[in-house]
Symmetry: C2
Subunit: 348 residues, 2 copies
Amino acid sequence: MTQPSDKALVPFVSVDNMMRLIHYVGIEDMMRDLADYIEADFKRWELFDKTPRVASHSDVGVIELMPTSDGEAYGFKYVNGHPKNTSEGLQTVTAFGLLADVYTGYPVLLTEMTILTALRTAATSAMVAKHLAPKSADTMAMIGNGAQSEFQTLAMKAIIGLKAVRLYDKDPAATEKCAQNLAGLGVDVTICKTPEEAIEGAQILTTCTADKQYATILTDNMVGSGVHINAIGGDCPGKTELAPGILNRSDVFVEYPPQTRVEGEIQQMPEDFAVTELWEVISGQKPGRTGDRQITLFDSVGFAIEDFSALRYIRDRIKGTDYFIDLDMLADPDDPRDLFGMVQRAKA
Amino acid sequence: MTQPSDKALVPFVSVDNMMRLIHYVGIEDMMRDLADYIEADFKRWELFDKTPRVASHSDVGVIELMPTSDGEAYGFKYVNGHPKNTSEGLQTVTAFGLLADVYTGYPVLLTEMTILTALRTAATSAMVAKHLAPKSADTMAMIGNGAQSEFQTLAMKAIIGLKAVRLYDKDPAATEKCAQNLAGLGVDVTICKTPEEAIEGAQILTTCTADKQYATILTDNMVGSGVHINAIGGDCPGKTELAPGILNRSDVFVEYPPQTRVEGEIQQMPEDFAVTELWEVISGQKPGRTGDRQITLFDSVGFAIEDFSALRYIRDRIKGTDYFIDLDMLADPDDPRDLFGMVQRAKA
């Protein structure tokens, strides 16, 4: 049988290999690297092809494709969202991604992205906090202690030097799990019984709860001046975490307004509610934090360019390692017009 | 290391395994089976989610995602189109596809689709010819003898009992390749020196040339009454093969008018040019061929539902075979909230 040429082979990073790669690089180093790749792509934001995500909705969930391109590489992520899955022992969200070469159209990387998305989400939050949080910020309230909570905490440690995290979840078992996972990783962990207790002394308030509803995780009177709010959980239509009063008192920073106005905390606000695009801050065109008493708010929903940055990083980082296998995914006949002949010759 | 659960594994059909599967099933049986799956999906056309394809254009080509869903399964194809690739020893088109379960959002199949697309394109043509060509049709003119030509010929043999094919290509080497590939496969092959010679005595005229331009492969005076035209090559903006006069004398059948009016032969015609949707014919709601002297024309561009049918077929057909491998593509922690714990435990 004819062997496929190198060009027909696509490097594939399995879940197992992604976990090995994380431990090989070190999870904090990897989130620092990811933050650097994401920051670099925010700096050249304008040259990206920002296609809206393509969603297929059903009664029980959604399947989305999130493509983007910088003109040299093309990437997309497949991601589902099925809240009812948890009760059936399945993941709410699974994801994989692909990177291709724009010049040839050939895929150059296929990778799991469930774990990688958790890393890039946390790395994005911490990179944004580096630009927006008070310079002395070293304590974070982590409200919602689900799958993203440990990643958020470690990314903040790795990227802005977080020293302490104050955990709260309405389910004490989630907090216990988070505290156990963080034990010994170099962050001082405090278990709190109320959200009010969690935000005591914290300069960064991270909300990351899973309720798919309009919830009020932070009420207006809980939020004092001089903090940075990292709002992760309000990320789809009908799901928010913050009281509108907080949004009115904050300077709100977003990834991509057309998407955030539909999916983010600001879906509660009028269509012309003022926001600043993060790429403008990161590229130095607009100010980030301008004063000690300012409340900055990152209304995070997750954008395709962050996945693209993560795919670029994995493509670069696996070179020279054995944390991938080659998949024979692309037919590659010697004579492009002779696909049939290739198939027939395989019979032998 | 924790092993992934069965649900985290996605069956993958490589190019090599696709070729093995084709020979295991038999290429003619496989095209018959594919035609049955495609026909079944045309019969339930109305329930499909018909998202337009999502294209990312560059100076040298295009990368497209073609998603669709029948409410139970969700499928998409990744396909590129880079005409300049051939001169660099690469494929103009490569493709792969994915099928997922709508209820869980979990992928259930990943497969090469370069070869599979060639099969489904030919199976679609032959299934359509079964509905539209004269009942006695047994001879086809095959104008354009590139990668699709042998598949078209064998599908017509398998599905409507084609006995003879008359080959013409402006490049005699392409015709020679096609004739050699078809030798001994049960179809009488005639090599022709002109398109006029190729269509002599043929009841089916298939055009499948690769020029990306407005070309006139068939002129108006070449096409007599009582034939079926299977127009494959006019399949993107700026690329057509037929003189407009032929379209005016034909009853034109299309897959999905919003796409065909942009990509097909009818891009040459006014926006209100009358066409019949194939699903209406196949489901018995509208007539196909109504008379002996009628010219029927299938303006084929390739639609996502045909890829979906092909993905469904491969998912069903590989069961119980070893023509796939399982990919560890989806992270599957025991506790969905404990993704971090799963990653940490992998360190051991």
